[in-house]
Each structure stands twice: as C-alpha cells, then as structure tokens.
Subunit: 325 residues, 2 copies
C-alpha cells in the first residue's frame, strides 16, 4: 500500500519521550479476535496510531496462516508500516522460519515469546523453554549474517504465573531471561500473559531483571485481567522499566471472560504517564482518535478504556516535551 502524506505524519521526534509505549494491538489484539481486519484497514489503523506519535508498533506476526489467518498479510502490512520514517516496525515470530520471513519483509525489530512455564511452552510452541533458547541463538546467528541492524527481543511469557502450572518460580524466570540474553537477544522483557501479576511481584522481578541484564532488560507486557494492569505498569516503572506494551482499546482477549488476556489499554497508560509528567511522545487526543479507525476495521468488537469515555480532565496538561534534538 502506498504511503499517505501531509501533516498526518507530523509526530514527535524519537528523542522526546521518557518511556517507550510499544503498541501491540495490530498483532496481539487482532490475533485474539475472531474476525479478520482487512489489510487496507490494518494499514489505515497503523497510520492513525503512528500519527499519534507512537514510536513502536507490533504490526503482525509471521506464523502459519493456517493457525492464524488474521496474520496472513503481515508482509504487506510491514511494507506499509515502513513508510513511517520515525516508526520502529516490529513483528512477533515463534521460530527461525518466522524470523527469516520477518527479515525478508524488512522489519526493524523481532520479538520472540519464550514461556517460563514448561507446560505453557509445550502447549504453545511444542518446545521446552531450553529449546526456545536454542531458537534465540539460531535467530541471532541468522540476524548477524543477513540483517545485523535488526533488533531481537525475547519476551518471557507466563513470567508471573501460568494458568496451567500455577506459580512460576522467580529464579526460573530470571535464569531463562539471562539465558536469552546470553544467547544474544538484544533485549528481554517479562510478560504477564495470564493476568496473574501483582505490583510487589512486578517490582521484585523487574528489579532482578535489571540487576542481571542491565540495559538488555526490556519491556513490561502487562494484562488487565484482574484490573491491575496500570498498577503493575506503575510498579515496573518505579524500579526502572522504561518500555511498556499496550493495546489501543485494550484489544486482545476479552477481559470479561475467565482466562482472557485483556491487554493494558494504551489510552489509559498514556494518560497515566503524561499526567505524572512522564513523557510518552504520544498525543492523547490523536491516540483516542485512532479508536475510530480501529472500530471501523473491526465493527462490533468491544473496545475498552476509561480515559476515552471520561475525556481529559479540566486543566490537564500533558508532560512537557523536551526540544527535539
């Protein structure tokens, strides 16, 4: 798809934020809903998201189209997203084959989910966590050979508990994260895949992650399953986390069903940070406006988020932007 032009693309520069909001709706959201958004609507939605100043968008995943037909057009969506010069275009891949496809499509960043729960890992990708670390190593070797500028993130899923095995020990989470970093991942994040995290646990684990991995410590991917999404993001922020995954309208698993995921709502997360004086680089009004395009592309799908309904408070001022450098 051709790029659009005009002031639609006038966004904040990449230097004007304190936290990076990584929008995962076009991947995590769209692969969780029953209906498939058309390629045209995906691209228009990504345009609207990018126009709000979001610096990073997970635009799709390279997985079997038999498994996830909603993601079959990811290569085309990537090509379109690359038209936004200030955007980091990211995709999820489950394996080396997906990574090859992602690199061929021209992405800037790859994320690979690696479950800390063996039960979840076997059920999800039919590989043990250790076998997934081997996959990281293979992907890094491929990346180093053919696309050295592509950034590879490992996301430790079920890091805060698993609906199959229950508790996941902290030590296992941190040693798996360290193994991914040693295998060459540029960044390792922690995901509350099952919505079981609490702020004390989030602080404990991210503190250890940062102590162990330094600047390779990555994103907090929190869910709002039990209403704690923003509290958990706040907790992660307080111990030094600076990248947060979120989904416009909370798209990604219905939060009103048992076991559902319920991503953190981007609008509420951006409101929280901006109100605190923490710069996201995102224009809240444009972000909220992007819901219109999402609703157009997925008619009938429920959208969540409190800030869009309540509106911005009287006298609200977003965090001040630093001069672009």
């Amino acid at each position: 798809m051709a790029c659009q032009s005009g002031d639609f693309f006038q966004v904040a520069t990449s230097h004007s934020f304190d936290v990076l909001i990584s929008e995962v709706g076009p991947r995590d959201g769209l692969q969780s809903v029953g209906s498939t958004m058309s390629t045209v609507d995906k691209c228009a939605w990504i345009d609207a998201l990018a126009a709000s100043g979001l610096q990073e968008i997970e635009v799709g995943s390279f997985v079997s189209p038999k498994l996830l037909p909603q993601m079959a057009d990811t290569a085309a969506v990537v090509r379109h997203a690359l038209c936004h010069p200030q955007l980091t275009v990211m995709v999820l891949v489950p394996n080396l084959r997906g990574a090859q496809a992602a690199i061929d499509a021209g992405v800037h960043k790859i994320t690979l989910p690696i479950s800390a729960s063996s039960a979840h890992s076997m059920a999800n990708v039919r590989k043990s966590p250790q076998e997934m670390v081997d996959e990281v190593r293979n992907i890094i070797a491929l990346r180093d050979e053919i696309a050295p500028r592509v950034h590879v993130e490992a996301g430790i899923s079920t890091a805060f508990g698993c609906t199959m095995q229950g508790v996941v020990p902290d030590d296992e989470v941190i040693s798996l994260a360290a193994a991914c970093a040693h295998a060459g991942a540029d960044e390792v994040g922690l995901s509350d895949t099952t919505g079981m995290a609490n702020p004390a646990q989030v602080q404990r684990l991210f503190k250890r992650l940062i102590a162990e991995l330094g600047d390779k410590a990555g994103a907090a991917h929190m869910h709002n399953t039990r209403g704690l999404g923003l509290a958990n993001c706040l907790a992660a922020y307080e111990v030094g986390t600076r990248t947060f995954d979120a989904s416009l309208g909370g798209l990604g698993g219905c939060p009103y069903a048992p076991g559902a995921s319920g991503n953190v709502v981007t609008e509420d997360l951006v409101f929280m940070f901006e109100a605190m004086g923490v710069r996201t680089g995102v224009d809240l009004e444009r972000l909220i406006a992007a819901r219109t395009q999402l609703a157009h592309g997925l008619p009938g799908e429920p959208l969540y988020g409190m800030t869009p309904l309540a509106g911005l408070p009287k006298g609200f001022e977003p965090a001040a932007y630093a001069p672009a450098s």
Copy 2:
C-alpha cells in the same frame, strides 16, 4: 432489624490486617444510583459485607431525605449494622445537624466531606472551605460533649482537581487538611472526587499529608474514572497510607459516563493487596459472594470489577494472617 447469627459472622479479628479497607458502597454507591435499595436489602448486603471480614463500612448518610431519599432510612441501617461487634459503623454527614443525628443513632465514626475547591464547596454545601472547617470545630465540640468515643474524620474532596475550577493547588489542599486537624478532626483523608488524580500527585500529596498530620493522616478515597484507581491506591500505599475507601462492584457513579465518579472496586483492591502479601483481613471469596446480595437489592444496576469475572488465579494464596491477638 434483628441480627442474624451463626458462622456467617465468623470474621477475621481486627488485629489481622495491614491495611484497612473502608467499604463505602452502602453510602457512596447507593446515593449515586437512581433506584432506592430497601432497608431489608441494605441490611442483608451489609451482613454479607461484614461476613467477608471488612472492618469498616460507611452504611449511609444523614442528609435531607428530600435531597437524597435513598438515605432516609440511615438510622435504621445503623442500628442493624451495630449488631456486628467487630465492625466500625460509619456514616457521612454534611453538617452539625447530621452529626447530631449520627451520634443519636449510635455510629462509631463520622466522616465530613470538605471540598478544597471553593467552587465545588459552594455548589455542594453552599459553604466555603473555611466555613466547613468551622463546622468541623462545632462537630468536635458536640462530640466531646455527648459522645467522646465517636471518631470524626474529615475527607478533603476535590483534593486532586475539580471539574469546575480545574487544578487545585497542593498548598491549599494541605493547609485545609491541617486546618481540619487543628479544628479537632481525628483523621483527615484525601479524596479524588473527580477522578483526576495521577500516581505522582497522589504520592506527593499523601507524603505531605503524613509529614504534616502524622497519625491523623487518613484514607485515600480514589476513583477509577480514567482507569487509574488501583494505581493511585498503590501509590498512596507506597508512601505510607494504610486506609483505603472502595465500593463493592465499583458502585457509585457510572464510570462509563463523562464526569462520573466510578469508585475503586473493592474486590480488585483487596485482590491487589492480598496478592502483594498485604493483609486486608478480607476473605476474597466471601467478598465476591456479597455481590449476589447487592445485585438482588439493586436489580439491573451494572456492577464492575475484573477479579470477580476472571476468578482467582491458579495457585493464588491470600496474604497470611497473623495469629489473632
């Protein structure tokens, strides 16, 4: 109404909690909805709430029945609630006359709302904040004379912003809180009446409140208007706040309408603290069960809360109880 008996009333002792959850649904919730819950249903709901281990319930308010017909039976509800020996029975009063009625009814604790925003104060009670401080002084004099064991709380409303005047300066909030304490209030809390608070502001103001008032620093009354309710409670907890207002099912203003209040959901708040290892003294399963009685008494009223829908996580253990002393 007669008290019920049996194991229904076997609750945690008053020594077995780290934070006090003050349930405001029967007052703040019921006075915000259009329909009126019957006295019998109010009492049965309060029984179910008390049975979960809640130590403090705001059971009603002594205001003009012309203004709030839903609260006309507060004296009868207070009498019933007093049957629960471990429960602090609390009511809201807007003035000296209400305080007299509350003391006559036999309450343990009175809360008086005092707005930090002059515009809000005049609109709400037709008195300036300073005139309300005088009212605190009069209530304290009455209390000292006829009911010295009754505890008087002042709740500073619009402490984090006002829908009428916008920003409310921190200095004004803190000096009003100090004036209430000097006027004799036993405890002074801060209320995010309008759902405008953010965690940085919450920490800043509660830090100052605690520094200024010491053990007279009281409850955090947060709203979920923009989704930040739990994050703001966490922020207040982190700087030393130990009492939190919340409402079962988030009853109290529809969170899905502009300007609505949207109380913090008790179920999600208790889940957050218990999961963190912070003891609330509340049994989550019994608390969630109390929704049945609420729904019965207010048919058709929407109830909020994510934890009741998602259920407790696999392997979840509430915070350990200290031996009752």
